[in-house]
Every structure is written in structure tokens, then in C-alpha cells.
């Protein structure tokens, strides 16, 4: 269930499984060859000055103090493991990926590639926490971690307290599932005494984004809405709110959240909002509509008497992300490892859609 959260925020289901949601988000990262990601940072582990500790990190559940540089790092929830791995630290345990993992080994391709570079595959692979049914606290405890990283997560207070009983736990700063990939890297990195290295990592990814954008001048400045629209099954559409990490990634790609979405989101602290299909004309200011689906999705939307009224649908400036698979996993829970892996393919889709905007 958690995995499905990533792309399918139906209010009802979520309420029931909100806590569980955290589990689904296991990202993995394995840099591809095109990215310089692991190269610049591999040596970083040893450079951390011990005078960085003790370090105190403030999150929504209070202060977490890490007394000395952690040797055994465990990560729970989606994608947090990509940060230590990108920094050259092999975690003792990470979340098992169940969403978007096409080869079902429990590790997403970009994570696997980065682990491979660190010689941490096969028998050396970190323990995979199966969070399908909630965080397996006993398994986490069995890895004897010095620190537990979850800067991007939906931890509940109860989960946080339980984890904190095992080791100092780093939670999200303010909103569940509302931590940007940059903040995830910096916060998780800081807990490892590698904040400068994490910053270098973020700068590197930002530079890659800037290069990729420069090659696609049509993309920047367009407005967008990121939604979950299933014409066959629902009377409401779900729109990811501006605090959602995947929405933040798209803004990093030079697009702007459409004013209509911002207005609908208001002061929400949820990562999605809902809108009745009868009112989809409120999305008239959307240049590029992003949704999940398959090859038939755009035609289905265009044929629908209500969704067909959205200008972006009419002109086909729609980015359809595959319903499952690594491409969606890399972008719905973006990390410093997943972005370089997916960047060109992702931007190509946005470019194609942006070219259709008048």
C-alpha cells in the first residue's frame, strides 16, 4: 500500500493507511554512468571531521542529538538510503523497494548501481527492511545502527519514538513527505558529519539540471499541475500539493506550480489535494499537466466530457508518467541519485509537452 501512495493519493485510502504510507517510499539509487555523482563524493566519508559531533538536528518531533560520527547507518522510508550511499557510506539496512522495482530485487536501479560501485552488492548488500506492513522495528534493531535516517518520510510520532529507542533518529523538518530532495540530502548528510559533501552533491545535481535545461529552452517558465487522474474510476482528481517532493523537483526543473493549484492547496499540510471532476475547468491556467497512466491515458482524457475541457488536455500538453516502474519511482520520490539517473528522460517528456503550449 505504501508504494501506491507515491502516485495514487486517494483521500480515503490514505487516511486508513497514512501511517503505512511511509513504508512504500523506498527509493533506491544507482547512479548511471552519465552522472558524476558518486565520483566526486566517494572519498568524502573519511574527510568528516570528528569535531562535527555532537550534532543536533531539529525535526518536527524535536531535537535529535548524535554524539559521535555514526559508523553503522540505517535508513527507513523512501529514498533516504540514497544519501549515505551517494556519500560513499554503505548503510547496514535500507528500505526494501516494492514500488517501481522492475527486477524485484528490492533495490531500485540507481541505488543498485551506486552500491555496486561501493562493492556492496551480493553478500555485502545492506539488510532490506520490508516496510510493506509497517516499519519492521525488530529488523532495524537487529542491524545495531548508530543512527537512523528518515529526513524524507512520513514517520508518525509513535514510529519516531520507537526508532529513537533503537538509535538517534532523524525525521522530517515539518511536513510528512514534504522534504525536498535537497533538504533530504543536507539533513541526512549532516547527521553523518558530511554536510559539506552533501552540499557538494546537491550543487552537482543542480548543475546537471541546469545543463539539461539549457538544452531544452521550451521548458522553463511553464506552469504545471501534477495529478493523479483516473477517468474510469473516480469522480475526483488528486493533485499533488506544492510541498510534495515530486512537485518541488518539477519546480527545480524551471516550471511553476499553476496559480490554480496553489490556490486550491491553500495552507494544506497534506501532500495532495482533491478536486471534483465537475470543476476541472479551474485548471485552465495549467500549461503542462502531469499525470500517471499509459499510452491510452491522453486519448481517454481527451474523450472525457469533463477532463476534455482542460486546455492542457485539449492541446495534448500532458506528461504521462508510466503507472509503475523505475521512471515513476525516480521522480515521485526524487533523490540525489535518482535525479541524475532519470533527468534526461524526464525532461524530454516535459519538453515535448511544453512545445505544444501556444
Amino acid at each position: 500500500m505504501r508504494s501506491a501512495l507515491l502516485r495514487a493519493p486517494r483521500p480515503i485510502r490514505f487516511a486508513a493507511v497514512a501511517a503505512a504510507a511511509a513504508l512504500a517510499l523506498t527509493a533506491c539509487s544507482s547512479g548511471t554512468d552519465d552522472a558524476a555523482t558518486p565520483a566526486g563524493t566517494a572519498g568524502g566519508t573519511t574527510t568528516a571531521a570528528s569535531d562535527a559531533f555532537p550534532v543536533t538536528i531539529t525535526s518536527t518531533f524535536g531535537d535529535t542529538t548524535i554524539e559521535s560520527k555514526p559508523e553503522r547507518v540505517a535508513t527507513v522510508n523512501w529514498g533516504n538510503h540514497d544519501v549515505p550511499i551517494a556519500l560513499g557510506v554503505v548503510p547496514v539496512g535500507i528500505q526494501k523497494s516494492t514500488y517501481g522495482d522492475d527486477d524485484t530485487d528490492g533495490v531500485l536501479p540507481w541505488t543498485f548501481a551506486a552500491l555496486e560501485e561501493l562493492g556492496a552488492t551480493g553478500d555485502a548488500l545492506p539488510v532490506l527492511f520490508d516496510e510493506t506492513d509497517g516499519i519492521p522495528f525488530e529488523s532495524v534493531n537487529n542491524t545495531e545502527p548508530d543512527v537512523i535516517l528518515a529526513a524524507y518520510s512520513g514517520l508518525t510520532k509513535e514510529q519516531f519514538d520507537t526508532l529513537s529507542g533503537i538509535a538517534p533518529t532523524v525525521s522530517y523538518p515539518k511536513y510528512a513527505w514534504g522534504t525536498s530532495w535537497q533538504d533530504m540530502a543536507l539533513i541526512d548528510g549532516r547527521a553523518l558529519g558530511l554536510e559539506a559533501e552533501a552540499q557538494a552533491l546537491v550543487d552537482d545535481v543542480n548543475a546537471q539540471i541546469a545543463d539539461a535545461l539549457a538544452a531544452r529552452p521550451d521548458v522553463a517558465g511553464k506552469t504545471f499541475a501534477y495529478g493523479w487522474i483516473d477517468p474510469s474510476a473516480a469522480t475526483t482528481v488528486s493533485l499533488y500539493s506544492p510541498l510534495d517532493a515530486r512537485v518541488q523537483l518539477v519546480t527545480d526543473l524551471g516550471l511553476e506550480v499553476a496559480p490554480s493549484v496553489t490556490a486550491l492547496a491553500g495552507e494544506t499540510e497534506e501532500f495532495y489535494i482533491s478536486l471534483s471532476a465537475e470543476r476541472v475547468d479551474e485548471l485552465a491556467d495549467v500549461d503542462v499537466l502531469v499525470t500517471y497512466g499509459d499510452d491510452s491515458t491522453l486519448a481517454t482524457l481527451q474523450a472525457d466530457p469533463l477532463y476534455g475541457k482542460i486546455p492542457a488536455v485539449q492541446r495534448g500538453s500532458v506528461v504521462v508518467m508510466p503507472n509503475d516502474g523505475p521512471l515513476s519511482a525516480a521522480t515521485s520520490g526524487p533523490t540525489v541519485l535518482s535525479i541524475p539517473w532519470v533527468l534526461d528522460e524526464y525532461l524530454d517528456k516535459f519538453e515535448a509537452a511544453a512545445k505544444k503550449v501556444g
Binding site: 500500500m1 501506491a4 514500488y99 471534483s276 465537475e278
Partner: protein, 349 residues
């Protein structure tokens, strides 16, 4: 049998005031009016506020405006609400009549969860995708769950008491739903398809979907009406019913098939919607008394009106979102459920 040979069904039926027939006829007219009002509200009110001229044009010949497209999209939704509401009202009446259990309801007795589980299994293991396929596995699941609950509830000397049936239904329902979760947890791809079933919804129904379930609902309704006289007799107790010449086993079998058809088809297209089947027969009996020949048409009309009303409420309370009708019926139905238990002390019908 201890019955005197001169006893007739008329003698055994509860005495009613002489005015009962006109009163019941008038009540049926009131029910019909309630249905009409519910239909008009369902067409007129939604997340989008539209004028009455748009409502009329949207139903008759929608133009290109979103207002009229919105109204047009409410037409199949309303039609499905009528069908599913009537089916649930009938199914609840039949289940309560056959089991003499005032708490019988497709959702409470595990029939809906049986249908749900089989649909999930069909999606996960057999790769079923079309509504037609779902209907058949839903029937199978509804039938299996019904038989299971009835068998469990009938264990012991005193047979299927209301309390035992309700407990068996609740326990079976819980077990079936955790099996549903078990499948979904490991198969997120199935979860996607299954999502909208988790709460009942009549939105976004297409005419072709509706056309596929109508034959099953019609057959179910005809069988239910065919059992009316038999259920009247069963209400007096199995032994009396047998003495009256009713073939109790046959009535139960045909009525059971009717309930499975009505519930299974409803669940297949709209998901498990609770409490309508429970509340409506009680509401109807207040007008009709126990005679099933009157109860069934009342229950069909009231079920349709209640479901549509609940759907309209779900559309307007949460603007600009919508609340699925299954949520609304649960919110409205739970207090009634408690009231029935308190008032009746779960006695047999």
C-alpha cells in the same frame, strides 16, 4: 404439525387495521415522490453549482460548456444510484426475511466482502480486467460468503439466531477483508485497479457498465418478488411455514440466489456500500408491516431514494472535493444500526 387443518395464511397473518391498504398505497406514492425528488437533486446538485437551465439542457442536449457537461455526467451516475440503491434495498429485505434477522445486510453479513475478496483474487491471480469478469467472480464470492456465514451462524442447537448470524457475519467479514489486504499489500498493481472499490462509489459509471449489470439486477429482483409469499410464511417460523405448504428450503435457495445476484452485481459495479440494505427494510416496514409483497416495492423505492440522497450529500458537503457515497451511508447508517439494536434487543423478526 400442531396447526388445525382449517388454518389459512390469512388467519395466521397479523391482523391489520382495515385502512391498511389505502395507507400503504399512499405510502408507496410518497416513496415514488421521494425517488423523483432524489433524482432531481442528483441531477441538479454537485460540486459545480449550475443554473436550472443548464440542468435541463445538460440532461436533454448538453452543449460544449463544462456546466452542461457536468450535468450530463450526473445522468448515468443517477441511473446507477437508482439501480444500486433499489438492489441493496431489495437484497437487505430478502436477507432479513429469509434469516428472520433484523441486522441482515449485505455488508454486515459478509456478502460484500466475499464478493470483494474474489474480485481481488481474480485480479491478482487470474488477471481479470473487465466488468463482466468481475461480476461473475463477485457472484461466486458473494455466494461462498453467504453459505459460509449461514453455516457458521447455524451451528449449535438453536440454529441461526440473529445474534449468531451477525457475529458470524462480522467475523467472516473481518477475515475476508484481511485476506483482501493481504493480497493488496503484495500486489500494488492490483491495488490500483481495486482502489475505487474500497469505498462504494457510483461516480463515473458509464452506460455500457450499467447495461452489463442490469440483466443480473432484473433477474435478482424478479426472484426476490417471487419469494415474497414464501418469506411471509417463513416470518412465522419454519415449522409453521412448512405447515402452510411452503417449501422452506426452496424459498431460502431462491431468495439466497436473489440476494447474491443483487449484492454481487451491486458490488461489482459500485463497490461495497453498507447500511442501505440494513436501514431501508426497517424504514419500509414502518409503512407496510411485515407483508413482503408490499415491503419489497417500498424497499426498492426507498433504497434508490436513500442512496441518491446520500450521494448528493457527499457531493455538496466537501466542495470542491467529493465524498464517496459509501462513506456517507456509513456515517448515516451507523446510528440507525445502533438504534435498531437498542430498540429490538436483537430479537428475531
Amino acid at each position: 404439525m400442531t396447526l388445525s387443518t382449517t388454518a389459512t395464511p390469512a388467519d395466521l397473518a397479523p391482523r391489520r387495521p382495515a385502512s391498511a391498504r389505502p395507507r400503504r398505497a399512499l405510502g408507496l406514492a410518497v416513496c415514488a415522490l421521494a425517488v423523483v425528488v432524489a433524482v432531481v437533486c442528483s441531477l441538479a446538485f454537485g460540486s459545480r453549482v449550475v443554473g436550472w437551465s443548464d440542468v435541463v439542457s445538460g440532461v436533454l442536449h448538453p452543449d460544449d460548456s463544462i456546466a452542461q457537461a457536468a450535468v450530463a455526467s450526473r445522468v448515468p451516475r443517477t441511473l446507477l444510484g437508482l439501480l444500486v440503491g433499489a438492489a441493496l434495498g431489495l437484497a437487505g429485505s430478502v436477507m432479513q426475511g429469509l434469516t428472520r434477522n433484523p441486522l441482515a445486510d449485505p455488508a454486515l453479513l459478509g456478502v460484500s466482502s466475499g464478493a470483494s475478496l474474489f474480485v481481488v483474487l481474480g485480479m491478482a491471480w487470474v488477471g481479470l480486467t473487465t466488468l463482466t469478469q468481475h461480476i461473475w467472480v463477485a457472484f461466486l464470492g458473494a455466494a461462498v460468503a453467504s453459505l459460509l456465514v449461514y453455516a457458521i451462524g447455524s451451528m449449535g442447537r438453536e440454529g441461526a439466531t440473529p445474534l449468531k448470524l451477525a457475529l458470524a457475519g462480522a467475523a467472516t467479514s473481518a477475515a475476508l477483508l484481511s485476506a483482501v489486504s493481504m493480497v493488496l499489500l503484495t500486489r500494488t498493481d492490483v491495488l490500483d485497479t481495486f482502489r475505487f472499490w474500497q469505498v462504494g462509489s457510483i461516480g463515473r459509471a458509464s452506460y455500457s457498465d450499467i447495461g452489463q449489470v442490469v440483466p443480473f439486477l432484473v433477474v435478482g429482483a424478479v426472484l426476490a418478488v417471487g419469494c415474497a409469499r414464501g418469506m411471509d410464511a417463513i416470518a412465522l417460523g419454519d415449522e409453521v411455514a412448512t405447515g402452510l405448504g411452503q417449501r422452506v428450503g426452496l424459498v431460502r435457495a431462491v431468495g439466497g440466489v436473489a440476494a447474491v445476484l443483487l449484492c454481487g452485481a451491486s458490488v461489482a459495479i459500485a463497490g461495497p456500500i453498507g447500511f442501505v440494505g440494513l436501514v431501508v427494510p426497517h424504514l419500509a416496514r414502518a409503512f407496510t408491516g411485515p407483508s413482503h409483497r408490499w415491503l419489497l416495492p417500498y424497499a426498492a423505492a426507498l433504497g434508490a431514494a436513500l442512496l441518491l440522497a446520500a450521494d448528493v450529500v457527499g457531493r455538496v458537503v466537501a466542495r470542491p472535493q467529493e465524498v464517496e457515497v459509501g462513506i456517507v451511508t456509513a456515517v448515516l447508517g451507523a446510528p440507525v444500526f445502533i438504534a435498531i439494536i437498542r430498540r429490538q434487543k436483537v430479537r428475531e423478526l
